[in-house]
Each structure stands twice: as C-alpha cells, then as structure tokens.
C-alpha cells in the first residue's frame, strides 16, 4: 500500500523592468528588479481514509511588501469528510484555510496554477493581498454531482490575516487594522468535467480600524467583494472572465467624517492559447476603478487626496509560457498600464511621484515538484 505522505513545493524567480513606477522592487532602474521570489513547501498525509492533514509554508519576497522572506504558514488544515458518496461529498476544514475566492485565489502564489506571471491585479491585487489570502477558522464544503456537472458550495468563517500591506493600501497614513471574524461563500458549477466553469464568490472581510495620527479615531473597516467567474476550456485554448464588485466601508466612528463608503469594480477577460503542449500564449485586458462614482478619480484629485490616475488602472498584457518539463517553466510577459490603482505603495515613495502611463516587462522561471 503506497504511503499517503506527500511533500511538494515550488520556487520562482523573476526579473521585472518598468519604464516608470516601481513594481516589486526598484524595477525602473536600468538593471530592473530581482525582488520577486517565491518559495513554498508543503506536506500532507491521510491518517484515516476520511481525514487529510495538510500544511504549507510560504516564504516570499515581493519588493517592499511587508513580510519579505519571513516564512509564514500559508495554510494548515485538518480536513474531515463526513460524507463521500457517488452523488455527494461533504466535508469540513479546520485551521488556516485558503479563501475560495474567484478562480485563482486559493493557489495565487503557485506559478504553475497561474495563467501568467502576474494574476489580474484588478481582482488579485498583490499590494494588499493579506485581506483575501487565508482565514483562521472553519470552512464547510459540499459537492453535488449531476449527470453532466458538479456543483461546489463552500462557506467559511474565520479571522483574516490583515497585515501592514492592507494598512498602507487603504491609506498612505497607515491606519492600524486588526482582523475580525469574517465570512466567505463560494458557489461554483463545473459543467462537463470543467469545460465550462461558472462561479460566484462573496466575502465580508472585517477588521478594526485605529488611526495612528488620532487615537480617538476608532472604527471598523469592511471589505465586501462579490466576484462572478466564467471560464471555457477547450483543448487548445481557454477563455476566462471575472467581474468583481467591491464594497469598502469605514463605519462605527464617533467622528462622522471618518464614516464613508466607496464601491469599486474590476473585471478582466483572458485568453490562453496552447500553441503546443509546451508553449502557451496569453492575452489579457484587465481594468479596475476604485470608486464607481468617481471613475476617473477627478473628485479624489480635486479634494487634494492624490492623483486622479491612482483611482483606476487599465492593463493590457500579453505573455508567453514555455514548459521545459513538467517541473520547469519559463515565462515572459509585457504589460501596458494606464493608471496606478494597484501599483504597490510599498515600492513607490509617494503617489504624487508616480507616472500615469507605464510599461512593465517581466521574466520568470519557476520549478515545482
């Protein structure tokens, strides 16, 4: 009988070059930035037929992003399947679980599961990624099988890992945020073995808010995204589109000037074409606006809060992926971006010193086993 103990891992190294603005390190200098590295190692085993124990440690460097190199527990779960039949699978995970959010979130740091080097930043933004990464709590999942498709339902309750990245991304004044019990729900339908995938994900991520400048300014920050996902998989190509509606709210402040809401929206369309089993071409258009009532950011700018273009981003990108073997992969990708809505503040001194239109060229090699 084969041992059910398994160890897997991945690593990646990128070179990033930009003409303006810095993304993951000093990418705008002549030699570019090598400050995008990912290392992951996981282990899993099945102590009983209906129990899976799995954990993964992630160490990552992404420019000025807060937790550089610090190994973190990416997930650590005990997964128990109460029911495992032909028509239905019902189980739960206790521990730190990856948030089922959109198509890519659960494996967002694993190069082999991404369509390109970067995920669409409008929805899978890296600059405040801790908001959506994983939760400490419990999640219940259910699979309902029909004659030609499967419905997946997953709901979870837990404390999110809201870190400094979310603080600086929310405001340059870096308010202190602490995760509070949050909820997430995903319903996915996979038709005909995943030829067509349709999904809805919704979350309510809560954290306490405490201004560092004004100690009496205390309240709650709520991030409430809803994502609609659609994907078609053919033998040679895949077409993926996702739309996200993001409700952001500051509430429960004694001083009413802090209480505010902003509804943003993001969407992308992505085409992957497999030229051969080893070569893949990617084309994507990705767009985000931080506030639907101020699409061009003009009100934001007139209030003196920052440049108008920091409130939107339109990213046209194309890339190529070469799988040297089932383990090694080399990729190149070019982005032409109008706006800086997802540009990491961690890498750029101030919003004012950024440039509205910028180009980015990325190369990445990765290995997984």
């Amino acid at each position: 009988m084969p041992d059910t103990f398994q160890v897997h891992g991945f690593m990646s190294q990128a070179l990033i070059l930009t003409d303006h603005n810095d993304f993951f390190g000093p990418s705008s200098r002549d030699t570019g930035s090598l400050e995008y590295t990912e290392l992951g190692l996981n282990a899993s085993f099945r102590p009983r037929s209906n129990v899976l124990v799995a954990g993964q440690v992630l160490s990552r460097k992404a420019g000025g992003y807060g937790d550089a190199w610090k190994p973190t527990l990416d997930y650590g779960v005990i997964d128990y399947q109460l029911l495992s039949g032909e028509r239905r699978v019902l189980g739960l995970q206790v521990g730190r679980f990856k948030n089922p959010f959109g198509i890519y979130n659960q494996t967002r740091d694993v190069p082999s599961t991404r369509a390109g080097i970067l995920l669409p930043q409008s929805i899978y933004f890296d600059r405040s990624r801790s908001l959506g990464l994983a939760s400490d709590g419990i999640t219940v999942y259910d699979e309902e099988r029909f004659s030609r498709g499967t419905l997946y339902i997953q709901g979870g309750l837990g404390i999110p890992q809201v870190n400094g990245d979310a603080e600086i991304s929310l405001s340059p004044t870096k308010p202190s945020l602490d995760g509070r019990i949050s909820s997430i729900l995903q319903v996915l339908y996979a038709h005909d073995g995943g030829r067509v995938n349709l999904g809805v994900s919704a979350a309510r991520v809560r954290s306490s808010f405490q201004s560092r400048q004004n100690p009496s300014a205390k309240g709650e920050f709520v991030f409430q995204p809803v994502i609609l996902s659609a994907q078609y998989n053919a033998e040679r190509w895949s077409l993926t589109a996702e739309y996200e509606y993001q409700h952001k709210e500051l509430k429960d402040f004694d001083n009413d000037i802090y209480n505010s809401t902003a509804d943003g929206e993001s969407w992308y369309v992505q085409y992957q074409f497999r030229l051969t089993p080893d070569w893949q071409w990617l084309l994507r258009y990705d767009q985000t606006v931080s506030d639907r009532n101020d699409r061009e950011g003009s009100r934001y700018a007139s209030e003196g809060r920052g440049p108008s273009y920091s409130r939107f981003a339109r990213d046209l990108s194309t890339g190529i992926k070469w799988s040297l073997s089932s383990r090694w992969m080399v990729q190149a990708e070019w982005h032409h971006v109008d706006g800086t809505a997802w540009l990491p503040r961690q890498d750029n001194e101030s919003d004012e010193e950024t440039t509205r239109r910028w180009n980015m060229l990325l190369f990445q090699t990765s290995y997984s086993f």
Partner: protein, 144 residues
C-alpha cells in the same frame, strides 16, 4: 458598468449551449484493485476521483489513484475519451489540490505495465489500461 456584464452573460450563454459529448473508447478501460467492490461508477464520480477530489469510495475504502505521465498516449486517451477532459485540466486540478490543502497528487507510474501491476497490488488502487493488456489481477469498472 453594463458592457462587461452583458459581455459575460453572452459568453456564458454561448458556452453552455455548445454541446460536445464524450466518446467512448473500448480500447481503454478503467481498472481497479479486486478489493474495490463497485462494478460501476458514474462519470462524474470517476472525474472527481481523477481530479483528486474523491478520497474514498462509498463503502469508506481509501482510494489510491495511479496515472501515467501527461504526454503518454494512454493517459491522453483515458483523459480525453473516457473522462472527457484534457490532460492540462487534470494537471491544473492536481496542482490546485496539492497547493491549496484540499487534496493530494496522484501516484505517477512510468509505463502501462507498471500501472496494471501497481493497481493489482494496491488495495483501493484505481487506474486505467488498454483492454488488450489486462490481467486477471485487476477488475474492469464500468462507467455509467
């Protein structure tokens, strides 16, 4: 914004109505260790087993999945003609399971002969084989 929403809805409608059915290949069969009592499994269950989402059979027995490398013609035939999915979809499903803490990777063997042997000697073992290379040490499972 209305345009992307309408575009999404049209895309979804178009995709749902494109029908392509799975063709059976009598040359390739689903095989299991004799400890597996089921004589048939539904297609969605078999897809879940090979996507590494089904860990036990209905009677509680742990499943051990065996596969050949991605480019192997038998693997490709089994994936495309029996499961009705492409090898790249299976590979992605395994990576997603392995790196999100929701499942494990299948056991990879190098040749079709090794596959039959591994399934024959592993209780709960499930794999696939050319009908012509079957031995009496494995059972053929029908797919409903």
């Amino acid at each position: 914004m209305r345009q992307p929403l309408i575009a999404c809805i049209c895309l979804v409608a178009a995709l749902l109505f494109t029908v392509k059915s799975r063709g059976d290949d009598p040359m390739v069969v689903l095989i299991a260790n004799p400890s597996v009592i089921q004589s048939s499994l539904s297609l969605e269950t078999v897809r879940a087993i090979f996507a590494m989402r089904q860990r036990t059979l209905a009677d509680g027995q742990a499943i051990h999945v065996f596969v050949l490398p991605d480019g192997d013609p038998l693997h490709e035939a089994f994936a495309k003609k029996i499961l009705g999915v492409y090898p790249h979809q299976l590979r992605l499903a395994w990576d997603r399971a392995v790196f999100s803490g929701t499942g494990q990777a299948p056991n990879e063997v190098a040749t079709a002969a090794e596959m039959v042997k591994a399934v024959a000697t592993t209780p709960g073992g499930i794999g696939y084989a050319y009908r012509s290379e079957l031995t009496n040490q494995v059972r053929v499972i029908d797919i409903d």
